[in-house]
């Protein structure tokens, strides 16, 4: 594979017009990216890549997985990660590598010798490998991004708010699944202990739909809170949701349910022995 003669020709070809070739490379890539990355940035990235590639080829290797290409791979990883984070498509990322072939074309036309054609093909397959590597890294970076975002979402969407001394509230927003309910449940129960609250309100105003599974999760949370010595109220039940719950035949038993958070807060305060009224009312009594 690593025929020293061919490698030599390849290196000669690449190093002879290094300046022209990399300039052409940069031009092609920046046209495809249509000004979403500054030309100076692309210029710097690709020139670094070009010299790393040249250095790797000088070792006589032509396999993208070789140790000689470690630096090239590191640069490509960095490049695809940046592109993934900036929201480019996989092809726009891979073109950064494939465009080098396009840049080489005029150089070949100048030299009709068959030898350089062969070395061009070898370089081509090397660049294909590197291009595939770029796409793979891109996909991995995207996956990491997605999983870290969904984790953040999980954290973000389950705050526990203290409404009053001894009353906490969990406003639920978005669809409830088992994983999310577990997080909500644990957070709420821990908050009960941390704040010493005996009343908790679960507000489901932001939950788009309640099915038997969601209801089951809610019931479990309420029972767990009861086991620990706290009372739960479920609030924010919209008319459609009330209808669905009844139609599904879900029994909330003796769990207090309220239409609005305000009602639930009043209920929770009354249960903890706090009475709220206008100042005038008290004077009248």
């Amino acid at each position: 594979m690593a025929d020293p003669d061919n490698s030599r020709q390849l290196i000669d070809l690449l190093s002879a017009d290094a300046e022209d070739l990399s300039a052409e490379w940069v031009r092609i890539v920046s046209t495809t990216l249509r000004g979403r990355v500054s030309t100076a940035e692309i210029d710097q990235e690709l020139r670094e890549l070009y010299s790393a590639l040249l250095a790797a080829l000088r070792t006589g290797s032509l396999a993208a997985k070789d140790d000689a290409f470690a630096e090239v791979r590191a640069l490509l990883t960095e490049l695809s990660r940046t592109r993934a984070r900036q929201g480019f498509t996989p092809s726009e990322t891979a073109i950064s590598v494939f465009a080098l072939k396009q840049a080489l074309e005029p150089a070949l036309a100048k030299d009709p010798d068959g030898g350089s054609l062969r070395s061009y093909l070898q370089l081509s397959s090397l660049l294909d490998d590197l291009g595939l590597f770029t796409v793979e890294t891109y996909a991995r970076a995207r996956e990491e991004l997605i999983s870290s975002q969904s984790e953040q979402l999980l954290e973000l969407s389950t705050p526990v708010v203290k409404l009053w001394d001894g009353v906490i509230c969990v406003p639920l927003v978005g669809t409830l699944d088992s994983a999310r309910t577990m997080v909500v449940m644990e957070k709420m129960l821990q908050a009960l202990i941390d704040t010493g609250s005996e009343q908790a309100i679960i507000d489901i105003t932001g939950v788009p739909a309640v099915d038997t599974q969601v209801a089951q999760h809610l019931l479990k949370t309420v029972v767990a809170a009861r086991l620990m010595g706290a009372e739960c109220t479920i609030s924010g039940i919209r008319p459609q949701i009330a209808q669905t719950i009844v139609a599904l035949g879900i029994d909330f038993g003796d769990i207090a349910t309220k239409a609005s958070l305000a009602d639930a807060l009043r209920h929770a305060l009354r249960r903890s022995g706090i009475e709220i009224g206008r100042r005038g009312d008290r004077v009248a009594k």
Binding site: M185, E186, L189, Q190, L192, I193, G196, S197, E198, K220, V223, A224, A225, R226, L227, M228, G229, A230
Partner: protein, 131 residues
Amino acid sequence: MSERVPILQIGDILLVSIQTDLDDQSVLNLQDDLAARVVESAAHGVVIDISAVEIVDSFVGRMLATIAAISRMLDAETVVVGMRPAVAITLVELGLSLGGVSTALNLDLGLRLLERARGGRDGLTAEPTAS
């Protein structure tokens, strides 16, 4: 030899603080000891503190319910205090709801709950000075 869980008396309340994960024999011993102590001391309240317990199986869950039932027979209210969230979730998953057992978040709230329960039950005690 399984170790015995100490039962402490504060006024007319018995405090059982479980500090280790219990094996079945020590659970049975505790049941015996507690029944004897309730009669002996004429206590009207039992507080079981399980804040140090990390693992609860169905046996321990039933033990808590049984102790509560025994104490009630002997005219003492039982309050289980300090249950950890993980334990509560386990009990729910096991389908145990500890029916008939009062619970409180911590020892302080548990003692207050007992006091309130006693005030409601015992008409002879002086009316508290709240209005």
